[in-house]
Every structure is written in C-alpha cells, then in structure tokens.
C-alpha cells in the first residue's frame, strides 16, 4: 500500500501527480530546485525538500538527492513524471533497489525500450511493421551504403540510444552518406555515450499516431485508442487529438492490436505508448514511450479514465479492473499546448474554464517562468461529441486566454486550429510550416 509518494519532477506534471495522489488519499513529497521554491508543487505537496540548484543535473536529475529524500521521509514510492528521470532505467533500478516502488515499467523494460535498435527488434519479433532499415546498428560505411541502397533514399540515421533529434541525420543522396554517418556517430557518442547508429527509411510526410496502453504486468493489457500528434514544430508536439481525423478504420484497429500484442510479449507493466508513423495506407512502428506522456489528458477525456491513478494502482500490484471490452472510447478530445516564447514574470494569467474545458497548469499570475526549464505554460484540453464541435470549443477556450508579461504561442495555436487545413483533417507533420511560417 502506497501511503506517501515522492514526485520527482516539477511544474505542471508534478501538480498533475499530486492531484492524483490527493484523489487516492496518498501523501506527497515535492522535491524542487532553488529556482522552483515558490512553485505550485511545493505549495501543494504535504512536504517539500530542496534538492539542488536550478540546472537540471544539479536537482531534477540528481538521483542521489532524490532517493535520499524519499528514504529519509519514509516515502513508499517515486513518480518520475514526464521527462527528466522518467525513462532512465538506471534510476528505476536504484529506486527498486532502495526498496521503493517506481511508478512506471520495470527497469529492464525501460532499458530494453530505451535502445532503438532493440525496440525495433522487439517490434519485429511481435510482427509489427517497422520502417525499412537496418535491423542492427550499422557496422561501417560499406554496411551503411549497402543498407541505404537496399531501402532507398532518403534515409535517416538515428542514434541507437538517442532521442529528441540528437544524433539524427537525414540523407537524401549517397554522396552525403559518409559525412552524415560520421556526424551522427559523433553526436551519438557525445550525447548518449554510445556511438551506435542505425538507419531507417525517411518518411517525408508522415502522420504521428500513437496508441495509449495500460498494462498490469500480470497479463492484463488494454488500449485506449489513438492520439494523433501530427501537428508539430521542430519535432515538438503542439496539438494532440483523439480520434485521429484521417485514419482508416482498418489501420486504426491493426495498430491497436499490434500495440497490445507487443505489450503482452514484453510483459509490460504500467502506462505506455506505442508511437507509429503513418504514410498513406501503411503504418510503421517508431518507438515505445515507456512512461506517462504530456498529452495523456487527451486519452483521459475520451476514455473517462484517470491514467495517473491507474499508474499508481498498477505499481501497487493491482490487476487492471477492466478488460478491453469494458473500455468505452467516446467523443473527441483535443489538447493545445500553450508554450512561452520568452522567460520572465507572468503579470496576468487568465486561463479558460467552463463546460467541457480542462486546464492543466502550474502557474498563476505573478509566477516566474524560469529560463532553466521547459517552456510550457498550460495544457488546454477540451471534449466534444465530434471534431467539428471540438474545434469550436477549443477556439472558445483559447479566446478566453490572457497572458501578459511573457510572449507565447497562443496566436499561432489559434491560427493553426482555425486553419482550413487543420479543420479539414488532411495534413501531415508539415502543417505548422504551411500555416504559420509560409503565411508570414
């Protein structure tokens, strides 16, 4: 039984976890950097401990200080939130070794899925389509050339241990391959301590579609349908919606079934997401996010399930209390991320409310948006019976937003959502470019 839980994160997601704990009657401990002493998680948690200076490696990535705090304050569990240590297998292992419950998958599962080559192999073994490419890390330039010839240009090089665009290189012609491979290896080594690089076919105009799953590690696995995260800016998701506005029902079903099968074969425990790229009538496994995701509220609104509460219950060893047939996905949900484009003091912060609008934020008027961290100001999520009505509700909600003191992407988001292309539903990952950059 978890009675006290340490939240090893900050900002909006820390507030989200604290709210779930309050709903479950679990006490919380917030840990924070010196920059976040005035933050909402510190104010909301039952106890709060400063764990270091503002730079993340001194505080939110400081494993020793976090685990020491959890042990000293007699916590039963640690929730890593999103980002930071949430997909760090070594951290999960140390939490387990300290006799604490890690709210997330088993450390071995995180380790396996953290390696892109290993994850692709696991997907392949489960019979899931992957983008054509090397099934192992590239041996040398000759191997790379042969593989590229086999799958056809353009190709993309990716760091096996990587993520977030680091160690990635798109190669359109064979002449560029040698130099790109060198650069990718160099970056991979620098950022991830592992020079291994593999190759995949590069899809020019894919959609990003991901399947949300819950698994209890005891045979119970359900999916909560998909989220379409195709609206991105520099690989950062801006809008997420469910259901996807332009997805063949057959594809949807196949992706859901494939994801459930993969999680069953992995013996996965916890909440997780399988990310796919979809191009025309085909879908390709991209990776598994072995953690909660920023956009999880979208699935919460269409499924009426609380994913953070579910994570905690699963980590306590409980079996899923429902089967796939009990899951009812209804209506439409859309999330809009309001991001700051500058740091500073937020002098005015009016966020929307009212029917069918949810706001997840950790800020208030007077809050300081720190330059050290993620720039998210708020997530606004709406529910409606269908997509057309949902877009109207989201535009109504965004119209109520008033943020002064910092600049944000609010106007861009309004423009995106009101655009013909977004309303039409037939767009790919270049929508932001088309709507916001070319119109300038």
């Amino acid at each position: 039984m978890i009675k006290k839980l340490l939240v090893a994160n900050r900002a909006e997601i820390a507030v989200r976890v604290i709210r779930a704990c309050r709903d479950l009657g679990i006490k919380t401990v917030a840990v924070y950097s010196t920059a976040d002493a005035q933050g909402m998680p510190v104010a909301m948690a039952d106890e709060a401990v400063c764990i270091g200076e503002a730079p993340t490696d001194k505080s939110y990535l400081n494993v020793r200080n976090i685990i020491t705090t959890a042990c000293a304050l007699r916590c039963d569990a640690i929730h890593p939130g999103v980002g930071f240590l949430s997909e760090n297998a070594d951290f999960a292992k140390q939490v387990e070794d300290a006799g604490l419950v890690f709210i997330g998958p088993r450390s071995e599962t995180i380790a396996l899925l953290g390696n892109k080559v290993a994850a692709r192999q696991a997907a392949l073994a489960a019979g899931i389509p992957i983008t054509p490419g090397s099934s192992e890390a590239l041996v040398d330039l000759a191997d790379a050339k042969k593989t590229a010839e086999h799958i056809g240009y353009p190709i993309i090089l990716k760091a096996a241990a990587g993520g977030g665009g680091r160690g990635m290189r798109i190669v359109r012609k064979e002449e560029q391959l040698e130099q790109s491979l060198q650069m990718a290896r160099k970056e991979a080594l620098a950022f991830f301590g592992d020079a291994s690089v593999h190759m995949e076919r590069f899809l020019e105009q894919p959609r990003h579609v991901e399947i949300q799953l819950l698994a209890d590690g005891q045979g119970g696995v359900v999916h909560l349908g998909e989220r379409d995260c195709s609206v991105q800016k520099n690989h950062q998701k801006l809008l997420e919606e469910s259901p996807s506005p332009n997805l063949d029902e057959g594809l949807r079903k196949a992706m859901c079934h494939d994801s459930v099968r993969l999680f069953k074969e992995l013996g996965y425990r916890g909440a997780g997401t399988v990310e796919f790229l979809v191009e025309r009538d085909a879908y390709y496994f991209m990776e598994v996010n072995a953690r909660l995701q920023v956009e999880h509220p979208v699935s919460e609104l269409v499924s009426s399930l609380d994913l953070v509460q579910a994570q905690i219950k699963i980590a306590q060893g409980k079996k899923l209390p429902f089967k796939q047939k009990d899951i009812r996905i209804s209506g439409y949900a859309l999330e809009c991320r309001i991001n700051a484009l500058s740091a500073g003091v937020i002098t005015t912060l009016q966020l929307p409310s009212g029917p069918f609008v949810r706001v997840d934020s950790h800020l208030e008027a007077g809050s300081i948006l720190s330059p050290y961290y993620d720039s998210m100001v708020a997530k606004i999520i709406i529910w409606a019976p269908d997509r057309d009505q949902g877009i109207a509700v989201m535009l109504r909600a965004l119209e109520e937003v008033n943020i002064q003191g910092i600049t944000t992407n609010l106007d861009e988001q309004k423009r995106l959502i009101a655009s013909k292309q977004f309303r039409g539903g037939r767009f790919t990952t270049d929508l932001y470019q088309k709507v916001c950059e070319q119109e300038k």
Binding site: S59, I66, T68, A72
Partner: protein, 147 residues
C-alpha cells in the same frame, strides 16, 4: 515622521513593506531611491517547510552585533550527523575553533557517509540543523565566525 529629504532608508523600507505598493521611486536633493516588489501571487497553500535560500558557499549572515558571521549550508540532501559514530564525541561544538579542511559533520545519503569539510578556518557560533534529521540542499547547518 521626517520630510522625505530627511528620512533614512529603514523608514522608507518599513513604509514600503507595510504598503501594498509594488514599486516606489524617490529622488530628491539628498538621495534618489527606487524600490520594486515582485508581484507574486500567493501560493495555493503556505509552504510546508520553510526554506532559506542560501548559497552553498558561505555567505555573510545578518550581523548580530558588528561581528562578521557566515552560514555554512548543506551541499546535498541527507541525514545530518554531528558525530562520526553513535557513541563517538562530536566533530565540533559551539565554541570549537576549526581549521580549513577539518570535518564539521557527516551527511548520510544512500548509505554513504559524506564528510563535510570546512573551507576556511573559523569558530563555530551556532549549530543550526538538528542531528539525525533530514537536511535539504542549501539548508543552514552552522553559523560560524571567520578567523
């Protein structure tokens, strides 16, 4: 109360503190002054644990008289011990004169005993943290007088 030209700083500060102002600028024949307060919204709840945001490096404490006192704060999170072992004598006591490099205390984190060494010679004026309790990052441990 004095006219503005003859006010001293503490009078102005006291007034400012007890007002609802966020900024105050004064310039006159004898001085110019600009005060500003961050307009921070009140936290949802009062903070559970008071945090003194001090630096890791010793910083001047508020002078008691005219002595120059410093605060030594915790560089890590852990359990604070004044003795190397349960029945051993303490590393230091109030009044102890400490050399640079001498151990002041241990802070236990994940079963490792971390010895905190003094960065300069000083005299222990006050022990600020409670033994065998968790100290957080930046928490004041000792008030010392530099020698």
């Amino acid at each position: 109360m004095d006219s503005i030209e003859h006010m001293d700083l503490s009078e102005v500060l006291t007034l400012f503190d007890s007002s609802t102002l966020s900024e105050l600028e004064i310039s006159c024949s004898s001085f110019s002054l600009k005060l500003k307060r961050p307009v921070v919204g009140e936290p949802v709840k009062a903070m559970k644990q008071s945090v003194q945001e001090t630096q890791v490096k010793p910083t001047p404490a508020t002078a008691d008289n005219t002595e120059e006192l410093e605060i030594i704060t915790s560089p890590i999170v852990g359990t604070f011990y004044l003795t190397p072992a349960p029945d051993a004598p303490p590393y230091v006591q109030v009044g102890s004169k400490v050399e640079r490099g001498q151990v002041l205390c241990t802070i236990e984190a994940m079963k490792l005993m971390n010895q905190l060494e003094c960065e300069y010679s000083c005299e222990i004026v006050e022990i600020l943290a409670k033994p065998e309790q968790l100290v957080e990052f930046g928490q004041p441990l000792f008030k010392v007088k530099k020698l």
